[in-house]
Amino acid sequence: MPLDQDTETDDATLLARYARGDASATRTLTLRLTPRVFGHAYRVLGDSAEAEDVAQDAMLRLWKIAPDWEADRAQVSTWLYRVTANLCTDRLRKRRGGPALDEIAEPADPAPGVETQMQSRARMDALTAALQSLPERQRQAVVLRHIEGLANPEIADILDVGVEAVESLTARGKRALKAALAPQKQALGISDDG
């Protein structure tokens, strides 16, 4: 079953219906937006439990603002990503540092049949750790652009910077990621042709 069955209705309309007490709008918004919020928070924070807290907090703020939502405000998703980005920033300020690349376990001697699964897990762990090594703004921009798939103008709105700054952040972020991941290329099953 697809998570969000009501793909026709836009977020703002659903939020207005939520504010009028429509229970189906609550379900649709939850199914549509929670994975995006959690995914963004997880990639930025690199910690599932913290990302879960952030996702719940961000969604709660959405529920609370619904009755006062103005149609001419920013897009709902843009507002929600901005809230999520700020919540992540708050958490990152509270803790300094993160898991270093060399803390990621090498995929050693996998048993036949689970090799692919382990390598996939190792690839994600390596990407998560490499993301954590980026400066926070670069990380937010790279996640929003390349994992969440947002357009640069929307990212600019979310991060409250210009579009050129977003382009610069994502370009530098990708370069840094490639440099961080290159030494593990063989171990992660990344071939030279991509």
């Binding site: 007490g21 609550t26 996702a55 719940q56 709660l60 996939s120 690839r123 390596a126 990407l127 290329k185």
Partner: protein
């Protein structure tokens, strides 16, 4: 070249991004978000009553504190009008002009002074 062998391509990085697009959701997160949504949801049919004209006016005046100050100042002004202190002039007489004690000025002097200054002549001869 050795450097090339260690370099990561854009395509390889894009593959990693693609794999990362659907992170495993923690168990129960959706339900918790949904429960919070239902708990915070206004009841069907419940609409926020728009503020009345008086409430909007009170808000514009700074809320109940501002309105309290305005009412107190109005009452004080009314009472001073009804029963003025001895040392204040009688308001009614002042309005009617009795005993107002203002004298008309000889306007020709003022006008002449202005003309002389403006023209800058006839002062030194």
């Amino acid at each position: 070249m050795t450097a090339d062998r260690h370099e990561m391509t854009d395509a390889a990085l894009d593959d990693l991004f693609q794999d990362a697009r659907a992170p495993q959701m923690p168990e129960g997160l959706m339900l918790r978000v949904l429960d919070a949504g239902f708990a915070a949801q206004p009841a069907p049919g419940a609409t926020r009553a728009p503020l009345s004209r008086w409430r909007r006016l009170a808000a514009a005046m700074g809320g109940w504190q501002g309105m309290g100050g305005l009412v107190a100042a109005t009452c004080a002004g009314f009472w001073i009008g009804v029963s003025p202190p001895q040392y204040l002039p009688d308001a009614a007489l002042s309005l009617l002009g009795a005993g107002a004690g203002f004298e008309t000025t000889d306007m020709t002097e003022v006008a002449a002074y202005g003309w002389v200054v403006d023209e800058g002549s006839d002062i030194d001869g």
